[in-house]
Symmetry: C2
Subunit: 236 residues, 2 copies
């Protein structure tokens, strides 16, 4: 694997993360996963502790990444960590859920950005996990919307001059409506699955971008709009 390209998947044990790990592995990339549990299919694993604080988690992850890379650079950092919780301002768990969304989506995205600033090659790729609904107000899931709006802002900032990423690198967020995961099928049994974005589409898209095919302008928010099983990319 010495000369293989290298990708780090943040959230590499989740449904989308696992699909990406396997896809890049099948293309002979060296693949590392960061998650709460190891992904046995990855070449290297960084296992997160549930930390009390963002700064503690940052220290743990960045130090483990340095130990794993041993001075090698990354071709791509793909952050797909996140979660979902609902609630408006009158919901009894409003702040609790907003706190959880922040930790799941923003802690991970910001640490992925820091890893990219330090370890991505010039011309490398960073992807971040946005959400299409957060392009407008999200009254039924306010904490989720705040966290995703912050990820969108992070993407725009990193894609601007002086954001801290290596030369000629590309950062983009994907903004899915609904991903076609087993968990979403379980919880939304009666939905129209033909409007859900297949995980393989995302893995293939990331692989294209990672190999410098059809990359969006750095800082872009790319909505994934799926109809009749076909997914279109629409810049937000």
């Amino acid at each position: 694997m010495a000369s293989s390209p290298r990708v780090l998947v943040y959230g590499g044990k989740g449904a989308l993360g696992s699909t990406i790990v396997n896809f890049f592995k099948s293309k002979n990339w060296w693949v590392a996963s960061i998650d709460l549990f190891p992904n046995e299919d990855a070449h290297a694993n960084i296992v997160l502790n549930i930390s009390e604080s963002w700064i503690e988690q940052e220290k743990q992850v960045t130090s483990s990444v340095e130990d794993t890379l041993k001075g090698e650079k990354l071709d791509a950092v793909l952050c797909v960590a996140g979660g979902w919780a609902g609630g408006n301002a009158a919901h009894k768990d409003f702040v609790k859920n907003a706190d959880l969304m922040w930790k799941q989506s923003v802690w991970s995205s910001a640490i992925a950005a820091e890893i990219s600033a330090k370890h991505l090659k010039d011309g490398g790729l960073l992807t971040l996990p946005g959400a299409q609904p957060a392009v407008a107000g999200t009254p039924g899931m306010i904490g989720y919307g705040m966290a995703k709006a912050a990820v969108h802002q992070l993407t725009k900032s990193l894609g601007s001059e002086g954001g801290g990423l290596p030369e000629n690198s590309c950062v983009a967020a994907i903004l899915p409506v609904t991903l076609d995961t087993p968990m979403n099928r379980k919880w939304m049994k009666n939905a129209d699955f033909s409007t859900w974005t297949p995980l393989e589409f995302v893995a293939d898209l990331f692989f294209k971008w990672a190999t410098n095919e059809d990359r969006p302008k750095s800082g872009s928010l790319m909505q994934l709009i799926t109809k009749d099983g076909q997914t279109e990319l629409v810049k937000a």
Copy 2:
């Protein structure tokens, strides 16, 4: 004061907060302040503990607000709490500063939203502290931009159907470029102060909105653009 209108100023001991407290007091409103230190000019004070967690802070503040209001409703909740710290993704304090920005701007805004959902009158006013630069990427102050983007999203969500605020209430964020505070004058001695927004302008604006004069559509982000000492409101 029994029949006076009631306003709660979140961040009522800061430069802008103090100006607002005095302005509303001069108009014979009952004024409560929430801050790390009491504002002796306010009729009631809720003093924040520096909390380890968002949920702890929420519990402390909401319980103190209930004790203070004793069942009375509020006509307005004006959140002006916040702070500033810079840094891009390559900055050594990137996550530390992003964490601080989140706590200063988003914890307070979300708790102000929860208080408004519970204690604002029908037709009341909630204002939140946005920032004009966060309308685009903010590469030199990424954590600040993420926090302010979340406040903008919170505003849009609360202004949407089902956000949880009382009937006919109005929520709006103000998006200043630079406020004319003593601290900003101290740190940016050579700036053009004629482009900074005077604190009295903001206090007067909030008073108009609170008394139902020229209210923006609920959910609006209102940029404060100051030129030659004159401030214009421009919807983002």
